[in-house]
Every structure is written in structure tokens, then in C-alpha cells.
Amino acid sequence: MAYSEKVKDHYTNPRNVGEIENASGVGTVGNAKCGDIMRMYLDIDDKTHIIKDCKFKTFGCGAAVATSSMATEMVKGKTIEEALKVTNKAVMEALDGLPPIKVHCSLLAEEAIHAALWDYAEKHNIKIEGLKKPVNDIEELEEDEF
């Protein structure tokens, strides 16, 4: 893979790996078939809606790890509204780009954040403006036809 130095840095030394106990929101996206599964944990201040902490676990390639890592960095300290603006494009740019076949990893990172926010919203019975129900949750692990 022709990974940028930033990507290499992030998969070699990923930031914010781990779990958050009693997280405000947790989201898991991706599936084993395409080879990438991401889980995001958010610790959100219920009053200010500021994301105080963000951690992740990822099963996947270098790009999956790096985009997870970068995405957590980018949403940490932001409000929910601001975090929604952390698009896959923004993550990719922050990583100095991704190889074409790895672009989907950045989409997954965006989805994972959204899934965690959706979980938060559901738990707190609130509606987050502009957030759609995440579709990309873990699919059944089933085998392909050859």
C-alpha cells in the first residue's frame, strides 16, 4: 500500500485505542466480509454536548486503523454538531490522502462516529439534527458464493 507518512504514523501509533466504561454512546460499523470493523466509544457531556473523550477498537487494515485513530482525534473536544461535520473527506485530508481502494475505510470511520452518536441520542431520547440512522452495522458473517 502506498500509504502517506501520516497514515503510517497513525497505524503504527494509533491514538485513543481502547474502551470507555459506561460510554455515553457506542457504535460499531463494518463487517468481516470486507475485512473492516470499527467500534467507537464516546464520552459526551450531557449539558454542553461536548465530546470529552473518544476511543476506538478496529479490526482491519492499516487504513482502517489510521482513519479510526484520526477520526477520534478530530472529534475529541468538539460538540456533537461540530463532530457531525467531521466527514470522511476531512479525515482523509487530515491523513494526506488514502489509496483509492482504501477510501471506504474513511467512510467507515465517519459512519462509526455517527453510529455512536445515534446510540447516544437513542439512550437519551434526543434527536440530533442532521444525523441519520446508521445503516452500516455489522452484517451477518456469511460466506460468499465462490
Binding site: K33, V65, I101
Partner: protein
């Protein structure tokens, strides 16, 4: 980074210094076209003939049965498409296995588009083709069976002789993709009953861009590359002289050192398999434990993904692969690992280490010493492992 530890010899090998030395004259003052008539060119022509004879001897074939090609892929394409096209009047059914290299599978797929029918045989959990199943799959209109000698991912060695017997019982041509096996283990095409055999130079310390196809005398096969009168008018194109001379040298060396190489590789392979399976929980060997290439280890580590392992190994200077090198550029898990029954997440989590006669025990130790840490770190990052641990608490 320190020393490079190259454990990706199934992807490609390093050119032997003696091979490069043998090639060099043909890249400097012997750059003649072997089809020309003056002395220098005729000498080169004779050198090509000798190279052909050297290769023929390793297989117990005759010189006229060896045709130089550009790579294993060309050999596979030629054998499969060439026999299918030349024997279309006899029938349009071919048989292969689900774990063949893409050079075979995609050639078959191309024929399917032309109206041929292809049966893809299942393999068992170790990657073996069933000789019985093959016997049953052969139909009156079957013209070709193509089964690999040894699998490039999991190293499993197929029962070639038994397969050949079934093919000949039914009077069907038998092609063997021996790209991973040739020059790594002894092959006698007569004894085994092989009609066609593909090999690729860069898998046995010759340069990339060289290969050959053994075609048994009398085999009805169409030309694949039409043009000049080279290769007994069966494969046109100015010969890659330097490459061919090098390939002959490489196979000569490989055959003269074969026994020691196999012993050495087997020792290293077994040491690594034993240590890894013992020291890393939830790991499993893919492919047969015994009937496998002496240089191949393929191990599945649950809960983690292959590429991230490769990147971690890369940081240690270890060159490895997580599947077939040729399929990188694809996000799908290896078709071979799926065919032996692994679910997707396990297929994604496998590591292929292919050693060589140059791999040292120190190299093997370094990898074995570091792998547990790498796997542990990646598992600590894995949501699948998290789920597993929670479920088993």
C-alpha cells in the same frame, strides 16, 4: 531498520548471484537475436537450446516439449485456452479446483464467457482436491483438467499422480500449474503422467519475465501468441534470451541443491509452526501439516486482520504476505481460504510466511519472538476480540 527478513518467497524470489552472472553476457556483448544468421547470433541460439535441454532434463521431458514464455500466467493462459480452443470439436467442458491461482481461474472464466462450461471442484479443509469427485465430474465432453501442483497460499500439495491417472482413464488432458512447486521439489512428468506443466522463473531465483510451459508431444494445443517462427513456431516473439539463460542456471542450481534446500526449509518451517501455534492462542495452521511445500507457513490468527499484521512486521523489517500477492488490490478475502471453509473474518486474519534456503534460524527466531506481541497488540485493538472476551467471561 536492521536486516531485511524476506519471508515472501511465494510472491517472488531474489535473483541468485550466479544466475545474474550467467545472464550478464546476454545483456552486454551477446545481445544478439537468436534468429539471426551470423556467428554471434548462432552461438546465442545454441545457448538457448542448451537452456531448453537443461530445463527438459529436470522434468524428464524432451527438449522439444519445453516452450519458453514470459511468466507463469502466460503458461497457464496458453495451456488452458490453447487446449480448449484446439479441442472444441471434442467438447467444451473443463474442470479445475476452487483454489487455483487467478491465472487459471480467470482463464477459465474467460472461456466461460465464450460458451465453455467449467466445473470448479471443492477442496477439503486442508485444501485437497478429491480424486473421486474429479472422477465423477469428468463428462464425455470434458477436454481438460487443470489442477495445481501446490497451492501458493496454503502450500498444500495435491495428489497429482492420482489425478493424472483419472484423467488418462477418461482420455482427458491434464494441465498442472506447478509455479510454486517446480524447482522446489522433484517432478517427473513421465512418471506422474502430466500433459502440460506451467512454471515461472521468478519463483526459483531467476528474473521476473521468464517462464515456460511443458507440452507433452502430441498434445493438441493452439498457439497463444502468433507471429515469428520462434519456439518451434508455437510461441512467437523474440526470446528473452538473458532471462532464459538465467532461468536455466537457476533451475540447475535449484535441482543440484534441492535436497538440502528442502531439508533446511522444512526445519525452519516446522520450528516456526510449532512455536507460533504453541505461543499464540487462537491460532491455526491453514493447509495440510505434512503434504505441504517445505517453505510455506500459513497461519490464521483469530480476531485480527492480515494487513495490519503485515504492517507491524514491516516495521521489523519482515517481508510477508496475507494471501496471494497477486490479489492485493482486492478487498475480498482470499478465495483459497474461503474454499477450505474459513469464515470471512478468519480468512482476513491469516498470515503467509514463505521461507527459502537463505532464511536463517535467527530470522525464524526473530519472527517467532515478535509475533506474539504483534498479535496481542492487534487483538487489544480488535472489537471482535473484545466481544469474544466478554462473551467468555
Amino acid at each position: 531498520m536492521g536486516k531485511l527478513i524476506y519471508m515472501d518467497n511465494a510472491a517472488t524470489t531474489f535473483v541468485d548471484k550466479r544466475v545474474l552472472d550467467a545472464m550478464t553476457p546476454y545483456l552486454t556483448d551477446r545481445c544478439f537475436n537468436p534468429s539471426s544468421i551470423y556467428d554471434g547470433a548462432q552461438d546465442v541460439h545454441a545457448d538457448l537450446d542448451n537452456a531448453r535441454a537443461t530445463i527438459a532434463k529436470t522434468l524428464n521431458a524432451s527438449d522439444r516439449e519445453i516452450y519458453f514464455t514470459a511468466c507463469g500466467t502466460e503458461s497457464d493462459n496458453w495451456a488452458i485456452k490453447g487446449v480448449a480452443h484446439a479441442n472444441a470439436d471434442k467438447g467444451k467442458h473443463l474442470i479445475t479446483s476452487k483454489i487455483e491461482h487467478h491465472a487459471v481461474l480467470h482463464s477459465m472464466a474467460a472461456l466461460e464467457k465464450e460458451g465453455y462450461e467449467v466445473t470448479y471442484l471443492d477442496v477439503d479443509e486442508n485444501g485437497f482436491v478429491s480424486v473421486d469427485a474429479l472422477d465423477k465430474a469428468i463428462r464425455p465432453d470434458t477436454v481438460l483438467v487443470s489442477i495445481m501442483y501446490a497451492n501458493n497460499e496454503i502450500g498444500t500439495i495435491e495428489p497429482i499422480k492420482e489425478i493424472a491417472e483419472v484423467c488418462h482413464k477418461h482420455n482427458v488432458y491434464f494441465h498442472v500449474d506447478a509455479v510454486q512447486a517446480y524447482a522446489h521439489l522433484p517432478i517427473d512428468v513421465k512418471e506422474l503422467g502430466i500433459d502440460m506443466l506451467s512454471a515461472s522463473g521468478h519463483k526459483f531465483n531467476a528474473m521476473k519475465g521468464t517462464g515456460f510451459l511443458y507440452i507433452k508431444k502430441g498434445t493438441k494445443i493452439q498457439n497463444f501468441m502468433d507471429g515469428g517462427a520462434q519456439e518451434f513456431k508455437k510461441r512467437a516473439g523474440t526470446e528473452n534470451v538473458a532471462g532464459i539463460i538465467g532461468m536455466a542456471k537457476a533451475t540447475e542450481i535449484a535441482h543440484s541443491e534441492m535436497k538440502e534446500r528442502m531439508e533446511h526449509e522444512t526445519k525452519i518451517r516446522d520450528y516456526m509452526i510449532d512455536r507460533i501455534l504453541k505461543e499464540i492462542p487462537y491460532s491455526k495452521l491453514n493447509g495440510d501439516r505434512v503434504k505441504r511445500l517445505s517453505n510455506n507457513l500459513n497461519i490464521g490468527f483469530e480476531f485480527i486482520e492480515g494487513e495490519s499484521m503485515l504492517l507491524a512486521l514491516n516495521d521489523l523489517g519482515v517481508c510477508a504476505s496475507s494471501g496471494s500477492a497477486c490479489t492485493s488490490g482486492s478487498l475480498d478475502p482470499s478465495h483459497v481460504l474461503l474454499a477450505i471453509g474459513l469464515p470471512h473474518e478468519k480468512a482476513h486474519g491469516s498470515l503467509r510466511l514463505t521461507v527459502s534456503h537463505e532464511t536463517t534460524m535467527d530470522d525464524a527466531k526473530l519472527v517467532c519472538d515478535n509475533l506474539p506481541k504483534i498479535v496481542e497488540r492487534l487483538r487489544s485493538m480488535s472489537p471482535l476480540y473484545e466481544d469474544f472476551v466478554k462473551k467468555n467471561k
